[in-house]
C-alpha cells in the first residue's frame, strides 16, 4: 500500500510539475473561447471586408424597388423604363461596375417570382435579403387590397408565439425543466468524459512506453509488483485529471460569478417555479428565464453519477491503454493497438449524439448499458431522469468490466514491460493473458 502511494505521488508530481501541465490547464479554456470566437470574428471580418455590391433593380411594377434598402453590403439602384430584353446589354454596358441585376416582373403579385441575373456568383445572403424585403412588401400590399382598416394592427395583435414550458412533477412539487438546458448539459458532460478518457488514456500509454524506452521499468518492478506500478500510474494520472477538472470548475465559477454580477442576475434563487410565479417571470429578462431553467436541474445526483461514470470509464479505458502501451517499444508503434480502442470511443461519441435527440430510444438505452459506450452515452441521458434499474445495471456492468479489463491489462502489462525487440501482435497479447 505504501509503495502504491509512492508510485502514485511520483506519477502525479511528474505530470503536475511540468510546465506543459500549467500551460495546458490554463490554455484549454482560452482555446475553447478562441474556437467559439473565431467563426464569429471571421464572419464579421468577411462581411466588413467585402466591397459593397452594386445591384441594379429593374422594377416593372414600380412599387417594390423602394422596399430594398441599401446598406454596407448592398447598394440597390432602381432603374426605370427598361425591359427584360435589354437587361444583358445594360449589364455589359456597365463594364463590371454592376454585380447583379434584379428584375421584379409586372405579375409578381400573382406569381411571387423575382429574378436575379449576374455573371458572378449570387450569394445566399443576397437572396435572403431580397426575399425577405419583397415578401413583406407584397404581403402588406395584399392586406391593403382587402380594404379592411387597421388590418395590419389587428394581425399584430392576434399574433402569438406559443412558449412551451415543461413542468415536471416531482416529490418537491412542480419544477420547470428545460429540454434545451438538459440537452446542453448532457452534451457537455459526455464531451468531458470522452475528451478526458482519450487524453488521459493517451497520457498513460505514453508514460508506460516512456518507462520502457527509458529502461527504468525493470529497476522499478524489482522493488514492487508490476500491478502496483500499473495501478499507481492509472491512479496518479487520474488524480491529475481530477486536479485539472477542479481548476477548471474554480475558473468557471469565478468567471460565472463575475459575469453574473455584471448582468445583475446573481440573486436568482433556484426555488421551485410555480405557473403563477412563471407568469410573473414573464417580465423578467429572457436571460433570467434561461438561468432559472439551468438552475432548476437537480445537480447533486448528476454530479455523483458523473463522477461514478467518469471513474469507471477512465479505469476501463486507461487500463486498456496501459496494457496495450506495455506491448510496444516506441510511441510510433502503438497505433496498431490504439486504433480499435479509439474507434470504440468514437462509436460511443456518435451514439451519444444520436441519443441526444431521443434519450429514451432503444439505441440510447442499450448504449448506455453496454460498458464500453455507457460512460459517454449515459451522460446524455442523465439530465432526463434515467430509471434507477438502468443506472444500477449500467454501473454494475461498467465497474465489473473495468475490473476485468484491469486484470487482463495487468497480465499483459506484466509480460509486456519486459518484452523488447520484436513487435508484439494481438496474438502475442492473447498468449500473455493465458
Amino acid at each position: 500500500m505504501n509503495k502504491l502511494r509512492l508510485i502514485i505521488a511520483r506519477e502525479y508530481m511528474s505530470i503536475v510539475g511540468r510546465k506543459s501541465f500549467i500551460f495546458m490547464t490554463l490554455g484549454m479554456p482560452l482555446l475553447f473561447l478562441l474556437i467559439m470566437a473565431v467563426p464569429v470574428g471571421l464572419a464579421y471580418l468577411n462581411d466588413k471586408g467585402s466591397d459593397t455590391q452594386q445591384i441594379a433593380v429593374i422594377d416593372e411594377t414600380g412599387r417594390y424597388a423602394a422596399a430594398l434598402h441599401s446598406d454596407d453590403m448592398y447598394s440597390f439602384v432602381a432603374i426605370k423604363g427598361d425591359t427584360v430584353t435589354n437587361a444583358r446589354e445594360f449589364y455589359n454596358k456597365a463594364n463590371g461596375s454592376l454585380d447583379a441585376i434584379i428584375i421584379i416582373p409586372r405579375n409578381v403579385d400573382s406569381t411571387g417570382v423575382v429574378n436575379i441575373f449576374s455573371e458572378g456568383t449570387i450569394t445566399p445572403a443576397l437572396v435572403s435579403t431580397i426575399r425577405n424585403a419583397i415578401t413583406d412588401t407584397i404581403e402588406s400590399a395584399h392586406l391593403a387590397e382587402m380594404g379592411i382598416p387597421n388590418i395590419q394592427q389587428m394581425i399584430d395583435n392576434a399574433h402569438v408565439d406559443v412558449d412551451v414550458r415543461s413542468i415536471k412533477w416531482s416529490e418537491e412539487g412542480e419544477q420547470e425543466s428545460s429540454t434545451a438546458a438538459s440537452m446542453g448539459l448532457g452534451f457537455m458532460l459526455s464531451l468531458i468524459i470522452y475528451m478526458f478518457v482519450l487524453m488521459y488514456g493517451a497520457m498513460i500509454m505514453n508514460s508506460v512506453i516512456e518507462e520502457k524506452t527509458n529502461r527504468i521499468v525493470e529497476v522499478v518492478v524489482s522493488s514492487c509488483r508490476p500491478f502496483q506500478l500499473m495501478l499507481g500510474k492509472i491512479i496518479g494520472v487520474g488524480l491529475v485529471g481530477l486536479t485539472q477538472m477542479a481548476i477548471w470548475i474554480v475558473l468557471l465559477a469565478v468567471v460565472g460569478m463575475v459575469a453574473g454580477s455584471a448582468l445583475g442576475i446573481g440573486n436568482v434563487s433556484p426555488e421551485a417555479v410555480s405557473p403563477e410565479a412563471l407568469a410573473k417571470a414573464q417580465d423578467l429578462g429572457a436571460m433570467q428565464v434561461i438561468m432559472n431553467q439551468v438552475m432548476s436541474i437537480n445537480y447533486l445526483p448528476i454530479i455523483c453519477y458523473f463522477l461514478l461514470y467518469f471513474i469507471g470509464g477512465y479505469l476501463l479505458y486507461s487500463s486498456l491503454f496501459a496494457g496495450l502501451g506495455s506491448a510496444v517499444d516506441q510511441p510510433s508503434d502503438s497505433s496498431q493497438f490504439t486504433t480499435p480502442v479509439i474507434l470504440i470511443m468514437l462509436i460511443a461519441f456518435y451514439a451519444g449524439m444520436v441519443c441526444m435527440e431521443n434519450p429514451t430510444g432503444p439505441t440510447a438505452v442499450w448504449c448506455s448499458i453496454i460498458p464500453f459506450t455507457s460512460p459517454v452515452v449515459m451522460m446524455v441521458r442523465l439530465p432526463f431522469d434515467v430509471p434507477t434499474w438502468q443506472l444500477m445495471l449500467s454501473l454494475a456492468l461498467l465497474f465489473s468490466t473495468a475490473l476485468a479489463i484491469t486484470w487482463l491489462a495487468a497480465r499483459i502489462y506484466r509480460r509486456g514491460i519486459l518484452h523488447y525487440g520484436q513487435k508484439a501482435s494481438f496474438k502475442d497479447l492473447f498468449k500473455w493473458i493465458k
Binding site: 505504501n2 509503495k3 509512492l6 508510485i7 511520483r10 511528474s14 511540468r18 527509458n214 529502461r215 527504468i216 525493470e218 529497476v219 522499478v220 518492478v221 524489482s222 522493488s223 514492487c224 509488483r225 508490476p226 519486459l418 523488447y420 498468449k431
Partner: protein, 305 residues
Amino acid sequence: MAYLDINNVVKRYEGHTALDGVSMQVEQGCIYGLLGPNGAGKSTLIRIINRILAADEGTVTLNGKAMTDDDIAHIGYLPEERGLYKKMKVGDHIVYLGRLKGMTKADAVASMHWWLDRFNLKEWENKKVENLSKGMQQKVQFIGTVIHRPPLLIFDEPFSGFDPVNAEQLKAEILALRDQGSTILFSTHNMASVEEVCQQITLLNHSHVVLTGSVDEVKQQHKKNIIAVQTPDTIAANPDLFTLLPPDPVKKADTRIKLAAGVQVRDAINWLNEHYFLTGFSEVLPSMNEIFIETVKSKNVENNE
C-alpha cells in the same frame, strides 16, 4: 545451508524452456559469477530471484526460508536493461528508489547524501538526471541499487557502459560491499572481470548448468598440463615427459611444453633443469574466457549431435 539456494528451477515460455532444472548455491559474503552466452537463461534466473517472474517448478530460498515478496526489500538489483526517469532530480530519484525498497524518507535522504558525497556527485543533487553525463547516470543508477544496503546484491552486466576509470571505481565499491558482508551475484560475459572479483561461478548454457564451482577449482579442472618455461636455450621435445607446443601468440619468449599423461610437473622441471639453463617456469592455467568458450562450444556440439 547456502544463503541463496536455487533448487531445480524450471521456467517455460511458449515454445521453449528458458531454465531446465537449474540449481545453484550462493554462500553468504561471496561474489558469485553467473555466466553464460546470450540466451542461456541468466536474465530469466535473475528475474526469478527478484520475483519479477515466477518459476514454474523448483524453489528459491534465501537464508533458509522460501522467498516471499517481502524479501525483495533485501535485494539490490541492477538490471542489464537499466535507466532512470530523465526528468527527475538526481536526489529525488535516489530517494524514490530507496523508499520503494521500504526505507523511511529520512533514512533514504541520509543515505542518498552519503552516497552522492562518496561519488563526488554532491553538486548534482538538484539537477535533472537528463543533464548528467552517461557515466554519472550510471553512478546514480548504482547508488539507486545499493542505497538500502541490501544483504543480497544482483548485478547484471554491471560494467557495460562504464569507462575504465569508472569501472575501476565501481569494482572497488562492489568489493567494499562484499567486505561489509553483502553477498553479490554477478551476471556477465566479461570474463576478465569474473577472474578479478568472483570466487564462485556457475556457467549456464541452453537453460542448463554446465559448469559450477570455485574459480580456482574450475581452472584446475580445465588445466591442460601446460608449462611455460623461460630459457635462453632451445628445448628439444622429450616424448617420455613432454611435447613441445607452438609458442604463445602473445608471450613469444616463453617455450610452452605439454606434459605427457601421468607426468608430474616436478619431474619435468627437474629433467629440464638438468639439461637446460632455466630462468623461470610457470604452470599455464586456462583463462576463464578459454574455459567459457571451450565449455559452451563442446556442449553445443553435444547438443547438435
